[in-house]
């Protein structure tokens, strides 16, 4: 009885919030749990749950998994990006269920915030747990990185039946794999070594051994602390990856051509795969999703199809055409993610305008000092292509100072908080087919998208 009441109340609230245009995802779940505290446990018990956590790439990985399930005609629900705390996850289940708590789907692809994972995981009894990676992210909210790793480990230890999908190249994730009894599928990149200096200080999130504090050595590195690590002190090293990228043929703005191995026991085990997303970090996301699909026993061919036909998710990489120019939105949220966006900009060969929107609301992380951990100095090498840098958002001035101290000509740095002005100026500054890159933090992205929708009538773009 209380269960039905909770469902009705929450469903009404979902409808009401959508009707009023706020689209909130927290309140319905919270309300339902207040009326019927066991609601998440009861609803999720009816589905096979894939649970994704980690610092970067949760949403994209979830979306690729969703695409793989779609191609295999497996009906599933998925929580929305950003709705990854307990209440948002509860809302996602309520939304997909009938008032009696029945589902027309059989699986759930759920991303969980790392801090919420410990609480959420035992309630969901996931079949597969995917951990993308651990990087520093919003430390003001989460406390310390190792605390986050320990929390995830604690959550996993309460799900002994889940198959773990772990990033072999991330020492912090591999550490978890060694510490829990679960079955583990490792994924990683074998055929690549970064040309960029591995000594770059910003990348040292986990430079010392988690067991014995000795400094790791690397035989190959991709980015940040990810790579083929080895501890000379205690011998802890990168595990073999059974799902692996064994060759990188092309990395570009539109996507990557890679050779993947999905199963070490397969006879002909190198597959040419096109990943329809830019950058090495998306190769990791594709591998994480592929390893998850292998855990579910999905045919290899459908995984390859899914990777090649995947389309960009919320805010990670969105393109709009306006008066012959492109506007590309790319979310930035932590040093590693930001560094990858810079890497990505290096594959652009045309003139461009770059607009940063830096907010410091709770969802962005209230501490913006991480901007100093980003290799902004690399923008100097793009000086022949970037015609102007705009800085907007609540902390626009801090970003402008960061650019100045990176050695960018102050004459190219403009503090401008009005997105409309930036777009109008950019249309004037750029020629046909050139791009305005808008790089916002999370809440700034919501604002930018809203404005693009209303001012430039680009609504149909956002589904």
């Amino acid at each position: 009885m209380l269960f039905t009441l909770a469902m009705i109340a929450a469903k009404f609230l979902i409808w009401f919030l959508r009707f009023t245009g706020s689209g909130g995802t927290t309140l319905p779940g919270r309300l339902a749990a207040k009326i019927y505290p066991g609601i998440l446990l009861r609803l999720s018990g009816k589905l096979n749950v894939i649970l994704i956590t980690g610092t970067n790439g949760k949403t994209t990985t979830g979306r690729i998994i969703s695409r793989i399930l779609e191609i295999n005609d497996i009906p599933h629900l998925q929580n929305r990006s950003g709705a990854n705390l307990k209440s948002g996850i509860t809302t996602a289940f309520i939304e997909a269920a009938s008032i009696r708590g029945n589902f027309s789907c059989i699986m759930a692809v759920i991303e969980s915030d790392e801090a919420a994972f410990k609480t959420v995981a035992p309630l969901l009894s996931p079949k597969v747990i995917v951990v993308t990676n651990f990087f520093r992210d919003q430390l003001d909210r989460y406390g310390e990185l190792l605390t986050t790793v320990q929390n995830v480990k604690t959550g996993i230890s309460q799900c002994p039946n889940a198959v773990l999908v772990l990033n072999a190249d991330d020492s912090l994730s591999s550490y978890i794999g060694r510490e829990v009894p679960n079955k583990v599928i490792y994924y990683g990149i074998d055929g690549y070594n970064s040309s960029r200096s591995s000594a770059d200080i910003a990348g040292a999130d986990a430079s010392n051994c988690i067991y014995c504090t000795e400094k790791y050595q690397y035989s190959a590195r991709t980015y940040g602390h990810l790579g083929h690590f080895f501890c000379p002190g205690c011998g802890f090293k990168r595990p073999e990856a059974s799902v692996a990228c064994i060759g990188v043929n092309r990395l570009s703005l539109s996507g990557s051509d890679v050779a993947l191995r999905f199963d070490e026991y397969e006879v002909n085990n190198s597959h040419s795969v096109q990943i329809n997303l830019p950058g090495l970090y998306n190769v990791y996301n594709a591998l994480a999703a592929s390893a998850c699909a292998k855990a579910l026993g999905v045919p290899t061919g459908t995984i390859i199809d899914a990777l090649g036909t995947f389309e960009c998710g919320f805010g990670r990489m969105e393109i709009i055409e306006h008066e012959g120019r492109h506007i590309r939105l790319i979310l930035i949220k932590n040093p590693t993610g930001f560094n990858q966006v810079i890497d990505y900009l290096f594959s652009e060969k045309k003139k461009m305008v770059i607009a940063f929107f830096i907010n410091d609301n709770d969802a962005d992380g209230t501490d913006i000092s991480w901007l100093w951990d980003v290799d902004i100095e690399l923008f100097r090498d793009l000086r022949n292509l970037v015609v102007r840098f705009y800085c907007g958002g609540i902390r626009a001035e801090d970003m402008a100072v960061r650019l100045k101290y990176a050695g960018i000509d102050p004459g190219l740095i403009f503090i401008e908080k009005n997105m409309k002005t930036i777009i109008e100026d950019s249309i004037r500054l750029l020629s046909e087919d050139e791009t305005l890159f808008v790089l916002p933090t999370y809440t700034a992205m919501l604002e930018v998208r809203k404005l693009l929708g209303t001012e430039f009538n680009l609504k149909e773009f956002w589904k």
């Binding site: 990185l145 504090t213 000092s369 951990d373 101290y405």
Partner: protein, 255 residues
């Protein structure tokens, strides 16, 4: 050409919260004035030369990283670092770097860790972190320049100063050393300690120049000790914007 030798202690380990922004600031503000800069990155196991450096910078780290450097700083480099401090070398030590110069750290479960003991101060760990934006009025003679600095603090430790150690400043908004006495940081000789982590100096250019001048004065006497003005429009804008926002919020709250 005047040259500053800047030592960055444990840059590959204590590199949390954008601390390298402070090194970038000291370096760029020197170069813009024709002062040459050599950065010496000193890691565990590397030698520390107390007589070589004009400025020593040490940032903060997470507990795990603090643990990594603990033995090196206390047992190996300890005496050399104390010698440099006593000899009036300019030090800027932030968060974990601040705490480790003190006598000890006592964690919330009562475990006491011995620290360097270079300055008479000590830290008690508590569960609740003191985190957020902070504005401090510096307790320094700045010759009419802006004595207010803005930054971000995030620490579980509460630091208390012995009676002969002066605080770096007074908290205008935020927590400071312990959230109780209203003071922030510590000054001892030419050593400046603070909880304002990350990009403290870029946004507070007058304080950055204060440190540079202190180092130049010690090294060259009167000759180079007064830096000429440079265009700080962007820096001042960042500084004023955040301070106005925070202090305005404060007035609002007090109503």
């Amino acid at each position: 050409m005047p040259t500053l030798e800047i030592c960055h202690l444990y840059p590959d380990i204590l590199n949390l919260y954008g601390d390298r922004g402070n090194i970038i600031s000291l370096k760029m503000r020197s170069l813009w004035r024709g002062i040459d800069v050599n950065i010496h990155n000193v890691s565990p196991g590397d030698a520390f030369y107390p007589e070589l450096y004009d400025i020593v910078f040490m940032g903060g780290g997470q507990d795990y990283e603090q643990q990594i450097i603990h033995e090196d700083i206390v047992k190996v480099k300890g005496e050399a670092i104390k010698e440099a401090i006593e000899n009036n070398t300019v030090f800027l030590c932030i968060c974990g770097g601040f705490q480790v110069l003190g006598k000890y750290y006592k964690s919330s479960d009562g475990k006491e860790t011995e620290f360097l003991g270079a300055i008479d101060l000590w830290t008690i760990g508590e569960k609740k972190r003191l985190a957020g934006n902070i504005v401090v009025e510096l307790n320094l003679e700045m010759h009419g320049k802006d004595t207010r600095v803005a930054g971000f603090e995030n620490h579980a430790g509460r630091t208390y100063l012995g009676k002969d150690v002066k605080p770096l400043g007074k908290v205008l908004t935020g927590y400071g050393n312990n959230g109780i006495d209203g003071f922030e940081g510590a000054v001892y000789k030419n050593t400046y300690c603070t909880y304002l982590h990350g990009s403290l100096l870029p946004k507070n250019p007058d304080f950055a120049d204060y440190l540079l001048e202190a180092a130049l004065k010690k090294k060259y006497g009167g000759e180079f000790s007064k830096l000429f003005e440079i265009d700080d429009t962007l820096e001042k804008l960042a500084h004023d914007t955040v301070i106005n926002r925070l202090l305005k919020g404060l007035k609002h709250k007090n109503k």
